[in-house]
Symmetry: C2
Subunit: 280 residues, 2 copies
Amino acid sequence: MTKTVAFLGPEGTYTDEASYLYAPDADRIPFASLALVTSALETGQVDEAVVPIENSLGGTVIEIVDFLITSKKAQINGEILLPIDHCLITRPGVQLGDIRVVMSKQEALTQCRKFLARELRFAELIPTTSTALAVVELKEADDRTAAIGPRRSAELAGLPILAHGIQDRQDNVTRFAVLASNGSKPTGNDKTSIAFDFDRPDAPGLVYGALRPFADRGINLTKIESRPTGKGMGNYIFLLDFEGHVDEQHVGEAIAELKKFTSTFKVLGTYPIAQGLSVR
Amino acid sequence: MTKTVAFLGPEGTYTDEASYLYAPDADRIPFASLALVTSALETGQVDEAVVPIENSLGGTVIEIVDFLITSKKAQINGEILLPIDHCLITRPGVQLGDIRVVMSKQEALTQCRKFLARELRFAELIPTTSTALAVVELKEADDRTAAIGPRRSAELAGLPILAHGIQDRQDNVTRFAVLASNGSKPTGNDKTSIAFDFDRPDAPGLVYGALRPFADRGINLTKIESRPTGKGMGNYIFLLDFEGHVDEQHVGEAIAELKKFTSTFKVLGTYPIAQGLSVR
């Protein structure tokens, strides 16, 4: 049976691109919101879901972390690294000099500020709900209009790419998580993501103490983040990624020791470390 | 002489609201982008700047951190906490049942998803460049259109607020930083923000070791974040906030000890801990 994979739609978004590169032969189903993606997974309507979890510019996608903390079934069982490559997409035959309007998600417009200021100084910038939608709307637009979006959105729409890599920072990478209801077996090159908080949030040395079980066992941390939960910016949840699989003995011991300090504790997933994907 | 304070405009944004509450009598000047705000500060065109630095949902605003790391002059010399209170704003006399279109920044539309699904299920959602702009555009719109924005944008436009606090999560707080070229003197209730990285990013125990100088001196950490710099998601910069002023002896000692481990090191600012502001 073909595997079904949910992703944050519409087709042509970076999440679509990541899910396509991850599982080109799966039955991939777009959902209109993160809430719908995650509920499709919870109800068993799909086998897996691909969602953005961290961006080198925008940081952690907190909705996904919140979902994983409260979910009874879903966990991360894989990760995908995708470089963000913004493309300037037009109708056929359009030249740079013709463009008076550029549409895209506000975030993408902001990330291409230097290119737009240099090459399209007089163009009006119109925000859209998603990058993919901007490209779909191009079909109805005139030749004075361009869109900024992923390569895949241009391919799906059958529209030409006038310029690519037009983002200010060439080092913009997004990390996508593959979510599923079953965990991943140890491969010898794994990573584990956990979330926790403390009973006494303000005690000096608590964070230091929480890292000791990992330092003592030579476990490499690949991410640490304290995240205000919003209750007056005083309460924090900690997100930690480290190398190793929960089924490995030294990892199990480190977690057991950490749990002596924590109040809430949740393994968000244990999964093979990503090999970066390149967009051709 | 009246103090001049730059903020991320246009007028009526949450940053305007924060800068108004912070310095109601100052000469406050809106700038169209974060780059322009920060360059006005670097060139001495303004005395201070108010910028968003951390949101309980969106996380750290990395552009500001990047700016502070590379800036030769600017540093954080104060912080402002502002609860985000999204308001549904209309033209005079409009009722909920009249509304068919809701405009706002995409982020605000997303944050009000539950209210919109419950009360305005059939309304078309139109993204705009800023929340404030959505409210300005209401003036030209018809009675079927509403905007989501801060209270201040409604007041500036002289338009009624039909509902407020319509965001899904009531605990959405934004932290704004006051940037200036001079530091802040010790008040006895201060906080310091630093950024650093390591020579050898992958060595286990490095982060743990870096926190030891603070734990040893009973210095309370209020934020820790490792942030991928985007170079393949492998290189990290660490952001740390802790209680205390750099001029206090135990803080100076902790920093000197930390610097033995770090490659890049920068004090982003040392400033009085914020008292939360409430929006009436």
